[in-house]
Amino acid sequence: MATTPRQTRGGGKASSRDEDRLSDPLIDRDLARRTGGLAEHARRWSILPGSPWLRVVIGVAILLLLALVVTGARAADGFVAVPAHAARVTDQAGMLNPQQRSALDGVLADYERKTGSQIAILLVPSTAPEAIEQYSIRVAEAWKLGRKGIDDGVLLVVAKDNPSSLRRLRIEAGRGVQGTLTDAQSKRVLQDVIAPHFRQGDFYGGLAAGVSAIATLLDKEHFPAPPGAQGSAAPTDGGIASGSASASGGVAGMAQTAGAGGIPGNEGSNATQNAASSRSTNGPGSAGGSGDGGGWSAGWLFPLLLFGVFVVLPMLRGGSRRGLRRGGWGSDATGVLLGAALGNALSAAAHRSSGGSSWGGAGFGGDSGGGFSGGGGTFDGGGASGDW
């Protein structure tokens, strides 16, 4: 369970980014100011008369606050944040007008309804200081385009103002589509289909042509049809027909794996929308955080319960359980167990808070809940980068 937050934030890069962030002098100063304030509080409080227990409690509270401050600082990093995953076409660079945006969105939604494959477009001003492929893999990992197990997601990223060394175009191909949307084909789509339009300033034309080229390539691969495509009697490949939502199509077996993916959505469906928005208020919506939360409480409560029943009770009853007492390691075991439970709980809490705040920073917390989320597809960095 400890792996989830990091993975969703971009694999190994996350660690080095965290260090970068912490070593940022600006943030350091900021942090010092804030933590200095806390230390001030602590000093004032320690003057107060109070039992040692009260002091311990206050100390723990201060530590927790400190942890919150630190994770808050980590969320503000020097890298471009992964945008909220609210629509199939996300335009942060102002390259499309609203009609064009919704037209492209409609085409992509329609394509997903028919084939189940998810294609998304992201237009950002810049990905500096990262190269576009480093940025796009982070987005792809967070958005989880494509269906789980089929991995038929494609992400098209345009970074309009990137310097040429960081590249301005990127197709990120899911694992499952690389049979037809190969690296070479992706490069051709970028260079021969999209780039000519872009060179003339026709962004909409380039994106439309690029999307249809990608869709044509995906059609050559025969992915399993989405449930609901053949009619209302939908065969669910995940084995679970999830109530009213299954009529909207696109809800395969993902709904039951709460944290693993989102619900492959469909704007028309209220049920899906509600599910998606309730999820995003939950925290890292499609990125697996809600499942993490559930696993957290069960994960350490259960051993604690067992510990109570099988260790504490016999000890209280005394005598008869010689096996537990012999060698005098009963108390040691208590310490270790308590330590383990505490350690788990603390680390889980830290993960939860860091996950929550970082996703909030990336815009997930305040997301009003679009009808679109990834289905749990995976990416391995395949695709191509290009320029125009």
Binding site: A2, R6, G10, S15, A184
Partner: protein, 196 residues
């Protein structure tokens, strides 16, 4: 019988409480990520014969560069690291060095290829070039994920109280990728405009 039951439940609690299960899960995650790393390096090695042949068609007199790539490929594919040997830093180092040499040889080849306009216009060379680029990116991603999974494992192996479990069962901290040639990166490159 009741004693036995209590003991086995206690053992379960102790082991799961001390992260034994987590060690197993994370160990498997590290192995899986390593498999992906090797897979992508292999993919790159498989591209090279075609690439070399295509370049040879246009630039046969760049023998030295072409042979360097072929040699580096041969030595890189001869170093295989199975997950079982992963705990050995020396083996990982050797693997990394061999692959790093291949990376260097390949980038020299691509620089040389820039000099031949006919080659650059060749459709199959362009395809190979984008495949190579995509594979290099996959390698980067796979390495990052491997580093992250190793870090996860190592944190567990060092953190209290799971470090006690690690000691008890002999789970060592796993080695990870390092920067290939730290020295050459940390020394500033000399720029010489007089050479030509």
């Amino acid at each position: 019988m009741r004693n036995f039951l209590a003991m086995s439940v206690l053992a379960t609690v102790l082991l799961s409480g001390c992260g034994y299960n987590e060690f197993q899960a994370k160990d498997e995650a590290v192995k899986a990520q390593w498999g992906e790393v090797v897979n992508q390096y292999q993919r790159r090695a498989d591209l090279i014969p075609n690439l070399v042949n295509t370049v040879k068609g246009y630039a046969s007199h760049e023998r030295e560069t072409l042979e360097a790539v072929t040699r580096a490929r041969a030595s890189a594919t001869s170093v295989q690291v199975t997950p079982e040997v992963l705990n050995n830093p020396g083996a990982l180092q050797k693997f990394q060095q061999a692959q790093g040499e291949l990376t260097n040889a390949l980038s020299r080849l691509m620089v040389v290829a820039e000099k031949y306009p006919d080659l650059k216009a060749d459709a199959s060379f362009r395809d190979l070039q984008s495949q190579l680029e995509g594979t290099e990116n996959r390698i980067t991603v796979a390495r990052q994920r491997y580093i992250a999974s190793v870090q996860d494992f190592n944190v567990l192996a060092r953190r209290f109280p799971t470090n006690l479990t690690a000691k008890m069962f002999g789970y060592d901290v796993k080695p990870s990728f390092t920067v290939e040639n730290e020295k050459s990166i940390s020394t500033a490159p000399t720029v010489d405009f007089n050479k030509k």
